[in-house]
């Protein structure tokens, strides 16, 4: 589990802005509106596992990472910064190592 500090570092590390931008664009197109950076994707509890899978597969393909096992948590996908931190960590270019 990445600590909050590490997430913050990773979310501002090299390429983080690009990752965030692409995620915001994806979520905006998926929901037909502007996506607020800190909005909780799962707040309502109404999300389908199909959406979760679509999001996961999008992240994996878009950023060339594989998310497996205990990295596969709601918290890692809850907000754009959280996903960005996960991507940065899995790509090995964030502040936090594995």
């Amino acid at each position: 589990m990445t600590t909050v500090d590490n997430q913050a570092d990773a979310a501002t590390g090299p390429g983080a802005g690009d990752v965030q931008q692409r995620l915001v664009a994806f979520l905006g197109s998926r929901t037909g509106g502007d996506w607020d950076l800190d909005r909780d994707l799962f707040a309502s509890g109404a999300f389908s596992s199909l959406f979760s899978l679509e999001l996961l597969q999008h992240v994996e393909q878009e950023f060339q990472v594989t998310v497996e096992g205990d990295d596969l948590t709601l918290d890692n996908f809850r907000t754009v910064p959280a996903i960005t931190a996960l991507v940065q960590r899995l790509r090995g270019d964030g502040a936090a190592g594995r």
Partner: protein
């Protein structure tokens, strides 16, 4: 060319999953000289070929969907199907000038069915060869075989009360999706407009065929890929340590029928989720997520942990995501250290995912009722 070009579908996973290939879930028909005798473009007098109507009816009653892949003008061909009185039997017709393999692939994708559950019938061997080349898992049949299809094991699934309504349920689903595409708000707002009601109930003997069918048909939303037979399930119904729960869903467009199964075993300190399977018809609605949340809520109130059997198949990653996003993880817990290893009836390579459950708020997008698992009250109570 041999009369039968039935493509062999080697099951990609292990033999434990399915020793025989799965039953056909959708048959895609060519029209000219296959469904009807004659060629529409040549202004022939068209009549259904012998035995075709009987096959349409028989497969429909068994819950096997039927579609069309035909090279014709859409409006002309569909009008002819209507005048022959058979248009209602078909879902997602693909009538146009593209490749038949593209049509069959599109039908599979739109229905969310694996290609090895589709069949294709066409009098032209080149068309069958084209489909077989691009989609080797699709079973192909020649037109003269149409009348005999209902006699083949491939077209003999477990038939349930829901099966007879399956086509109607899919047609309702397509209307629902049309409503959704007209709706621009976030998904959850759309879901609320459906007036969806989910009922969870202890299965009785009359439900067993539907439960068995769900474990057979749900290759994506099935946590272990294990098939529980009628006899297996019957024994569990009367076992006080087991709960066999069946979920049905209705909305303003109609009933989705039985769409989910939960099989859990009460063990000291924990409930073991041996099976969670939900129909691909309802995957958009978060029904699997809500079933897991409801079960977690019940377990919290019972003061037990949850453990879930999960076995990766080549199609069920969505289930792993559902469990993981519900909070299940691979970290060991003291509740698992009671000397009970994975049960003897668990398949090999099964993972045991664990959750310390927490109270879950009832969803705002649908109403849910279910038995009170932790007090033994079997009547349906609102989730609150």
């Amino acid at each position: 060319m041999a009369a039968t070009e039935t493509a062999e579908t080697g099951t990609p996973t292990d033999a434990a999953e399915t020793a025989v290939r799965p039953a056909v879930k959708c048959l895609v028909w060519d029209l000219d000289n296959t469904l009807w005798r004659g060629t529409l473009l040549e202004h022939d007098e068209l009549v259904l070929r012998p035995g075709v109507l009987e096959t349409l009816k028989a497969l429909d009653e068994r819950g096997i969907l039927q579609s069309v892949a035909s090279r014709n003008e859409y409006d002309d061909a569909w009008a002819k199907l209507e005048s022959l009185g058979v248009a209602d039997y078909f879902v997602l017709p693909h009538i146009g000038w593209g490749r038949k393999s593209d049509a069959v692939r599109a039908v599979a994708e739109q229905l969310n069915f694996a290609q090895n559950t589709l069949a294709f019938i066409d009098d032209q061997h080149t068309e069958r060869a084209e489909v077989a080349y691009h989609l080797p898992d699709v079973r192909c049949y020649d037109a003269p075989e149409a009348a005999g299809l209902p006699d083949l094991p491939d077209f003999t699934p477990t038939v349930t009360s829901d099966a007879r309504r399956r086509r109607a349920m899919y047609q309702e689903k397509f209307r629902r999706e049309a409503a959704q595409s007209e709706f621009n708000g976030p998904d959850e707002d759309f879901l609320r407009t459906l007036d969806m009601r989910m009922s969870i109930a202890r299965a009785d003997e009359g439900d067993l065929a539907r439960v068995e069918e769900l474990t057979l048909r749900t290759s994506q939303m099935n946590a272990t890929g294990v098939h529980y037979s009628d006899a297996d399930l019957r024994a569990l119904l009367t076992d006080p340590d087991h709960e066999v729960l069946i979920t049905t869903v209705e909305d303003r467009f109609g009933s989705h029928g039985a769409v989910g199964v939960v099989l859990l075993e009460r063990q000291p300190g924990r409930w073991r989720l041996k099976l969670l399977a939900t129909s691909c018809r309802v995957v958009n609605f978060g029904i699997g997520t809500q079933l897991l949340r409801w079960t977690a809520d019940q377990a919290t109130r019972a003061g037990v942990h949850l453990e879930a059997d999960f076995r990766r198949t080549d199609r069920n990653r969505i289930m792993e995501v559902a469990y993981r996003f519900a909070g299940f993880n691979s970290k060991p817990c003291a509740c698992q250290e009671d000397g009970r290893e994975a049960a003897a009836d668990a398949p090999a390579d099964v993972q045991r995912l664990h959750l310390v459950p927490q109270r879950q708020a009832a969803p705002t997008t649908l109403t849910v009722t279910g038995p009170v698992l932790w007090s033994g009250d079997g009547t349906g109570k609102p989730w609150a």
